[in-house]
Symmetry: none
Amino acid sequence: MPTIAEIISIGDELLYGQTLDTNAHWISGQLDLIGIKVKRRITIGDVEEEILSAFEEAEKRADIVLITGGLGPTNDDLTKPLLAKYFNVGFKLNASALDEITKLFESKGREITEPNRKQAELPENCTKLTNKMGTAPGMWFEERNTIFVSMPGVPYEMQEIMTSEVLPRLSEKFFSGIIIHKIIRTVGIPESTLAEKLIDWESNLPYPIRLAYLPSMGQVKLRLTAIGEDKKRLEDLVQEQVALAIPLIEKYVYGFDSDELEKVVGDMLLKSNKSIAFAESCTGGYLSHMVTSVPGSSAYFKGSIVSYDYDVKVNSLQVNKVEMEEKGAVSEEVVLQMAKAVRKHLNSDIGISISGIAGPGGGTEEKPVGTVWIAYADGEKTVAKKFNFSKDRILNIKFSALAALNMFRINFSSN
Amino acid sequence: MPTIAEIISIGDELLYGQTLDTNAHWISGQLDLIGIKVKRRITIGDVEEEILSAFEEAEKRADIVLITGGLGPTNDDLTKPLLAKYFNVGFKLNASALDEITKLFESKGREITEPNRKQAELPENCTKLTNKMGTAPGMWFEERNTIFVSMPGVPYEMQEIMTSEVLPRLSEKFFSGIIIHKIIRTVGIPESTLAEKLIDWESNLPYPIRLAYLPSMGQVKLRLTAIGEDKKRLEDLVQEQVALAIPLIEKYVYGFDSDELEKVVGDMLLKSNKSIAFAESCTGGYLSHMVTSVPGSSAYFKGSIVSYDYDVKVNSLQVNKVEMEEKGAVSEEVVLQMAKAVRKHLNSDIGISISGIAGPGGGTEEKPVGTVWIAYADGEKTVAKKFNFSKDRILNIKFSALAALNMFRINFSSN
């Protein structure tokens, strides 16, 4: 019998359609990785009887109940008092929690407030879970057969508490078998085309390997899972199948497991001691943001010129005005000039440029919304490519940045 | 008594953390607009007993049960057979559904397949709901006190069926009253401090106004809700309370309802016909991305220089090398130079600059990770401010960009 979990998300704002609950989704994925099965998720509002009855029902069905939300310092936050009521216990000031909250305030040069001090008062029967990111501590209740865990609803706070405090405890307590996951990461190929290329391989996957396609924007991840007792055997089995799959889809594979494309690109640059700079038009800085979200990117990222305005293209990038007027800012000629210019001006080994029509306005019959030119220049090689993405502004921005990173991956050679 | 709805989302892929369920969220928002209260949402897998027990429990609690998912043509889709089983009825070919499915295939130049033909067989006791976007018809069951509605899980199919078929029926049947929502948006003040400033106001809120604090990264939204019969009276009541609250928190309020801060900033620039440019260091392009995610931002956004590298600060922004060596790149002096320089180089009315230590590396005792300087320059006024954010790289990037927009909001004057 697998260990069964239920997730309870609490908050009126979730039920009014105001806030999209991504917490339950994230938690589900994390529990799946350690073999804990989420059988049910429940979302309820800040209403006493609803919350108490959800606790009661979940306790009957599950080994673990994970609760998010309702831990703020204001009066509409009911989770903590209701957990105390549910377990029929009083409150106690948790000295370590108070210390953590006080330090958090000190680090921001502020004094702790009374509502925040009260956040350190916890139900007597719980173990405090440290919240490094905020003022509401997590709580762990283990006095009955079902474990209750309460965490704040702010996603990054919850994720930190899950990662540092909850998952290690759950893993130790419930997970005895071995689960092997291997993720193959692809970019630049749609899910259905990928599935077609892999159809024979997939139908011959041996027991106990399971395959899942995990599509996300512009990328598809293939997750192989094997559950059993013998770690070495499972790892070998998975590795064998990965080795069979790769040649079928080689040029789309950019990494494995948790490798993000921007991290892979950064590692390629680091390894060959090369630097990069961008000239971004329609992506408006998003490509630079992706690359600089990787810690340590200052070792290879020189900077960017976000040339949104026509004049910035002419003055800061010295794009030829006549050519831009003739061919338009979204053209092979201009994007090539931009890549070469940013490489020169910011003194980098590689220059990448993007110019396109993100929309909703600005499209023409010849160049509709979603038309994007991307160029790569490294001093020896210069490549430009045209893409036709979507009608949606935000999607076009994100697809373009991803395609630019992929163009680097394909064209960069470390020599 | 308000009309009560429950939403049941069905699908294994939701519980593994594979697919993020946005359907329940979207449905909640739509029902809220016609005064139907979602009291609970449940997510379960493709498991017969789970599905049947969810139907049974929901029927006891709710007037309306909305179900998404499990209507595909494959064998793991259980919703339709289980609805028939639940109501104890057989299947009947629905001629109109068959016609619609056949036409959908014809429009794509394809012949209808056998599994798709079977999708036109519906439980005898249901009303078919036309699905213009796909092959799985929606179903409406009204023979008991609780209405059951079943829809496909593909978001755009579900949304189309909700909009054309379900919401008009529900609206006619259940909605007579009026709901008024008003959201006050704040930035630069933590939830607890905001709550302290509003404590007296909050405790004097008259019936039937309810208040909710909705915190998200660096921002807190205050939502006032009033339900009743007399629209004018409710609107006046809410407006009165908003007018009382604003003076208590005025400098933190940047907008109302769906106004995003980057949109508010853009509108301020548009209205006064002024342009802006950024010099970003630690935010690496994220501030530019925020501003350019707003459609039409090319009217006021000139561009940015992302000066990650030391030399880019010196060459492209002409920051004084001696001063930078003396004071460090993260200093009042350098950030002021950057704001003035980008304003000049990109020929904009306003320049904003950010220089800080995003982390995880690069911190010192004097300037720990999270130290960020932001400057604003408009030709007459020049302001710089130091912030201490967090230990987390991504949070520091996002907090900094938000603080920069807020600094613009506070310092910009349209004259």
